[in-house]
Every structure is written in C-alpha cells, then in structure tokens.
Symmetry: C2
C-alpha cells in the first residue's frame, strides 16, 4: 500500500490538515532494524522525554523508567538476554533503551498526585496492585515514547523477544524496576527495513457501537 494512499485517508487527523507529522509518526513510519552510524545525543532523548512525560497516566503515576545502553560492554550484557534473532540488532543500534516499569512508583505520589494525598500510603501495602498499575501505565507511556522519538525524526525498533527476568537480574537487582521491552533507537538507514508493510485491521473490525 503506498504511503500516499494512507495520507489521503487520514487528511482529517490534524485540524491544520498538516499530514506531515501523521506520516512521520504513524502512516509512513516503520519498525527500524537498520540505522546509520550516528550517535543519538543524550540531550535529544532528554528533550523527547521532557515532552512525552506530560501524557496522561492513572493518578499521574508515570512509572516508565529507562536504562540507556550505549557502551560495548553494556550491549553485550543486554544481548545475552534477548532472543537470538534480536541479538545483532542490540549490538548494532546507536543507542538501546531498556523500558522498565517502576513498581515503587508510589513513593513519588506525594509529589506527582497532590490531589490524592493518601494514594501513596494506600498502595504501600499492596505490591501486586502496584505491579499491575506499574506495568499497565508504563506500557501506555511506551506508546507516548515511541511517538515522541519518531516525532523527533528518530527511528525505533521495539523488541519484546527478550528474557525480561534475565534483564532484570543483569541490571536491576535491588530496584523496583521491571523490564517490559527494549527499543533500539537511531536514525534509519533509508526506510530502515526490508520487510514489506503488513496490513492493519479496519475500524469496522476493531470497533462496535453498543
């Protein structure tokens, strides 16, 4: 399917009829597995986070955390815990982000949720509720993060073919962080992939009015 067809379909997305960003972030973007050999500056990742951190989460819990993997040694430690078909991608990406959920997010709620002053204390005694909230909301924030990275012109290669417990044991012992996914990040080499675009379900297949 040609990108131009998709843009025509979606020309009502933005009030200004500016389809460039929809194309950059969604309709024209691909999961990237081939990057050019340019460093992704820390300041750019920080700027993306400074924007996407404002996305909504339950009780403003914002449990998403990031391990930034750049050095050869750190990449090799990480690569040992990803599926074999993903290993070379972790070793080759300009920067790799391990996306984690902080199950101790409740310790920040006095600051983050001043409208709910007892929320942190209520969650202190229910670790299984906290873990579910942390995972759900960090996945939600992963959506915002992918959008922000792409909006900054970066390519993203998300990977869930990983041994999350192994990554936790390698990097996160003694913390409440739990690994959810791994994102390779950099500027795409061309389209960044050789795989043809796979289709999506239509509105009528995913939505029903009750």
């Amino acid at each position: 399917m040609a990108t131009t067809d998709l843009i025509d379909e979606t020309s009502t997305l933005l009030p200004s009829d500016d389809t460039a960003l929809a194309d950059l972030v969604f309709t024209g973007a691909r999961t990237v597995s081939r990057f050019v050999d340019d460093t992704v500056p820390e300041d750019l990742l920080r700027a993306v986070h400074d924007t996407v951190r404002w996305g909504p989460t339950a009780n403003n819990s914002t449990p998403l955390r990031l391990l930034v993997v750049r050095s050869r040694e750190a990449r090799e430690r990480l690569a040992a815990h990803v599926a074999e078909f993903n290993r070379e991608r972790v070793l080759a990406a300009p920067v790799t982000l391990v996306v984690a959920a902080d199950t101790d997010f409740h310790l920040h709620l006095p600051t983050l949720a001043p409208h709910a002053p007892t929320a942190g204390d209520r969650l202190a005694g229910v670790p299984e509720v906290r873990e579910r909230m942390a995972r759900e909301n960090a996945w939600l924030q992963t959506g915002y993060l992918v959008v922000g990275l792409r909006a900054a012109g970066l390519g993203v290669g998300p990977m869930t073919g990983i041994d999350a417990d192994g990554v936790d044991a390698e990097f996160l012992t003694g913390t409440g962080w739990r690994t959810l996914s791994v994102l390779n990040v950099g500027w795409p080499d061309g389209e960044g992939t050789d795989r043809p675009r796979a289709p999506r379900l239509s509105w009528d297949e995913v939505a029903r009015e009750v």
Copy 2:
C-alpha cells in the same frame, strides 16, 4: 507551571521546530472532564484509528478493540460499573470509548503477520500468553490512540477507576475482549479541567545509563 515554559523546553522535539503539535498532544494537553455539547462524528473516530493503527505492536498483533458508547441506555449500563466519582463523567461525555484487549487476536495473525506464518497456531494453545500479549500491546496502542485523538483536536478523559470484570460481563460475554480502560472523548470546554497541572519526574529521575 506555564505552558509557554514547557514549550520552550521542548522546542527540539520536531525537526521542523513546529511545537504546535507537541503542545496540542502533550505539553499543553490536560485530562478533560468537561466537554462542550457537540457530537463527535463516527468518521472522525475512524480517521483517528486509520492513522494510529499503524503504530508498532509485537508481531503486528494490534489487539486494541473499542466499544463506542453513545446512547443514554448504553451509558447507564456502563456507568453502573465505574467508580462513583467517575459516573457523572460517563453520563455526560459526548462519546465514551471502552478500550479492550482482544485475547483472540491470534486468529488475525495469518493476515497481520505474513512474515511469521506459524505464530497464530503457536499461540492457539497458550491462552495465558495470549492474554498477557493482548493486554500489554493494547495498553501500548492506547498510548497511540490518546495521541491521535488529541492530535485531531479532541479532549480525552481516560479512566481506570472502573470494575473491568463488571464491564466485561455487561457488554463482552462470549467474546475474547477484556476491558482495560474507559476514555471520555469530546471537545474540551475551555481547558476542560479545574485541577492545577501536576508535576512530572525529570529525565534524571527516570533514566540511567548502564
């Protein structure tokens, strides 16, 4: 904190230095609980989905599903299963979307993931793996959906103060859909909220290099 301060912080987000969309979607957007009394056309929801459905998910599983709640009767059925402080919001919103995860998403994989022809069959026998994948990836897609709705100029009021099992029993028996959250959607009345903006954690609080 003034929105203009935030925009200055994030002026590197877009390659074009166009901060209007970052403001519309993230830095200037608020969780909306007050809407103007205008119908949200089905075609607008469809256009948003036609764009955000291209966001990446594991194996292109795209398990997000939506119940569209508009009629007075449907709203009352839904409101019975949300926390009391959320009830009036569900009754008053122009349209409410119940966001669900389809645990039978694997039935679509022959179409959605032609690069992995055996994936659907492998998942057929492991319902607990499917449910985890469905929930994680539908939360990820919820992030894309919130972005798309806001980019279309709509306000969104996400709610997790709900009895998800109750909503499933009310609307989803006999399906593999499992309720995750509820989104009130419409055009904000003013800023759409009276609550002051709560802070967020900084990059240095959420990220560390290993």
